[in-house]
Amino acid sequence: MSLVNLIAQGVLLGGYYALIACGLSLMFGVMRIVNLAHGDLAVLAAFLVLTISTTFDVSPFLALVVTVLIMAAVGWALQRFILERSLRSGLLVPLLATFGLSIALENMLFEAFGADTRSLGDLIGDLVFDSVEVTSAFSLSYLAMLIFGLAVALLGALSLFLKRTSLGRAIRATAEDPDTAELVGINARAVYGVAAAISVATVAVAGAMLAMRATFDPYSGPMQLIFAFEAIVIGGIGSLWGTLVGGVVLGLAQSVGATLNPKWFLLAGHLTFFAVLAGRLARDWGRARGGLRAALGF
């Protein structure tokens, strides 16, 4: 039973990683930009939810709805005023720009909220610890299931949107070839703005979930970025459902690692990420030489 428990907890944890990764994946897929401020935007959203929720004494979920809208606007502005300008100067400049934004955000949050560790956990009542008990040794947390469900719903909605709607098709066309997209009447810049808005709006959801299931402080962002990045790479870059798989693999690896030794929680995830990456490189290296076996001389 403990094995089932282990797998279930790992999968549910993976839901959170998929949730935080999906915006990063979308922005990279459409604009070829790795947004290094991704994790910090999640933390910014968490602080926004906390502030709105405590100031107006409303449920964090209601505050999240408002925050998602605010963060969508932030995403649009990020594209319009920072990324668009930096994209003109090649691939390295947007990377540096988002790195700078990351540092600036961390310091601004520190200035505004101080170094205290916060959580939304105490604002969501019983949800923070309630769980459904399958057996005495195996229970599933409602919050973890909610997060996993949100991740699946968000990824599903996003891939339906990209496949079935006119705007979604315009986004895919622009992702593939922005110059040609303009030649068939698509305003590529506006499409980038929409993609950035969606990306950052999903970050807001992820940030709020981070804040509900755990604690955060102004410097929590970079670690979330690393989780998101690892989930994307494990799942295969550019695939939304792959992102879910990647998140689950990362979650499972961490759960298994933590069971073996509590200190191995993070390490096991990083090693899995590294192993997947090394495996892919070996595969490609082998393919270029007529199959891995042939390349190794078997």
């Binding site: 006119s166 098709r169 315009a170 303009e182 030649l183």
Partner: protein
Amino acid sequence: MSLLSIERLDVRHGLLQAVREVSFAIDQGETVALVGANGAGKSTLLRAIAGAHAPASGRIVFDGADVTSLRAYKRVARGIALVPEGRRLFGEMTVEENLQVAERVGRRGYWTMQTVMQLFPMLQARRDALTGNLSGGERQAVAIGRALMTNPRLILLDEVSLGLAPVVIEGLYRSLPQLLQGGATLVLVEQELSRALSVATRVMCMLEGRIVLDTPAASATREAIVDAYFGLHRGAEAKGAA
């Protein structure tokens, strides 16, 4: 009034001046063949008209309005469509999606998914195929169809027959007159002279960034075009001008 008029247009690729002080006007309903050697500036001229390449100086006037500084997507909305060299399809999208993408601009008219499929019946069966998996002829058909879906008033066709088998080119050229059904004006860049002359009402020849010959197709002799194409009488002209 002309549909398109180009005034002293200069287009550069960095230091290279690809189009030099070109001026001409095209009337509604004309089919213009733009010929010339590789590197004469034909593609660059088309791309400048479509808005894919910003000119260094000069004016592009379309339907009475200056569009020189309009971005490409806004020119599409006004009725200029370029079928780019090398097709440039969205390879990870299906045939149908490639056509639907061009619907977004919202220019309604003769061309719809249905009429485009009638024009290129071979696409019907390939509707759900990714365009990355199509044959060269099918891809060119999608590229032309995608431009038609914007119901353009001016269609710019860049090297549609490049890399295609002769029998496929034959088929494409047979369908060209039908492109005019929506009332469009056509400018086509073509390497092969006889093919260009078979559909055009007017021939323009470019040489080193300039238009060196501009004549009705009916009165164009092969010799005159070949001379212009290779610049055989350039020396004499230059002396005459001086």
